[in-house]
Symmetry: C2
Subunit: 213 residues, 2 copies
């Protein structure tokens, strides 16, 4: 089945949104937690967190101007800090529920049953149920003029993670840590490792690495 | 185990790269295919393809100035077109091999055994083995000054996909289509659907949807 540019443009709005959201491939599944200067916490599911570089350690995510998690970006600009918390299979339902349009005065922590956790070393709230918790400091926001969305960029300043999921080479076994992945707008998937491969060079056969696990 | 900002900054380079690449969560697994004005094809694995918006249908990916897939962005700017092809379990090894530093005059198609496929309606090469094939028209490139990378943005202009993986609501069952996901720099994972949830509203219990599959 083929869709040309004119076919894509003429699709019904909801159908189109599901289709275009599905086609980029599997997505990261994270809860972004913030607090505003009045002490009100906020929590929102984001599936657009993307690695931008390791030195400095930068991650980005896409913020839509008129979308639900707008409180997130307001709080980030207000305080300068936010956290990224991996979603696990046990919390997919409350994680999805954070996408509802709660008012500014309602905390998605209270509404969904997810638990606020604080770490002394970082100035934003974490999700206690997440087994991979990252603290980010806001660095920049870039407007994408083509559709009015923003790429929000932060630098990694804090990691909380179990020792046993970090390999000797720095690889984090996020599957073992229970992290899951998202497709489209609403579908959650667990994973099963197929293989890890050695660094690729021309003319050299790939080796399977970390096969002991 | 906790890492503070100073701990992260002082990590050994390769360890740090693996660690930071792993922590964003699961990533999309795509092959970006291009051709230059001399007719030389190029193919490179990208794990940073991200959905930017559905109307217009925009996807972005991150291009590193000094990295291997630099030929990709040169060709995109040269011709204005490129394709995104989902990686399936059957082709994870040749897909990973495309990350080797081949010279400008070598096509990763020839070097890895992946097959060029052309569709009459689109002016860039596709990967025949991919079951989800997308054609993109280049729209913009935004420099991220914090680390010198570029967000390359394209508009979806062509889709080739089997009818039976598109639901009546536009959701594409990319798991059924065989698409896989990546963690860190080198690890490939298949998926198993846990649940799809209804659109979330405050005070309303989520329903599981598409349960017939």
């Amino acid at each position: 089945m083929q869709f040309l540019h004119s076919d894509i443009e003429s699709l019904e709005k909801h159908y189109r949104t599901q289709l275009i959201n599905s086609l980029s491939g599997f997505k990261s599944a994270n809860l972004v937690a913030t607090i505003n200067s009045s002490g009100q916490t906020n929590l929102a599911v984001f599936t657009s967190v993307v690695h931008l570089g390791a030195d400095p350690a930068l991650y980005g995510f896409i913020s839509r101007p008129n979308s639900v998690p707008r409180h997130t970006i307001e709080n980030i600009k207000d305080t300068g800090f936010y956290t990224i918390n991996h979603i696990t299979a046990e919390i997919i339902e409350p994680a999805h529920q954070t996408s509802a349009r709660y008012t500014r005065n309602e905390s998605e922590f209270d509404s969904t049953g997810l638990t606020v956790e604080w770490h002394a070393a970082f100035a934003a709230p974490f999700v206690q149920q997440s087994r991979i918790q990252l603290g980010l400091e806001y660095r920049d926001s870039m407007r994408i003029d083509l559709n009015g969305t923003d790429l929000v960029i932060g630098e990694l300043g804090f990691i909380n993670i179990k020792d046993d999921v970090i390999g000797s080479d720095g690889y984090v076994d996020i599957e073992q840590a229970g992290s899951i992945t998202v497709s489209g707008l609403d579908s959650y998937h667990s994973t099963r490792k197929l293989a890890s491969f050695s660094y690729a060079k021309p003319g050299r056969k790939l080796q399977r690495i970390r096969v002991e696990k």
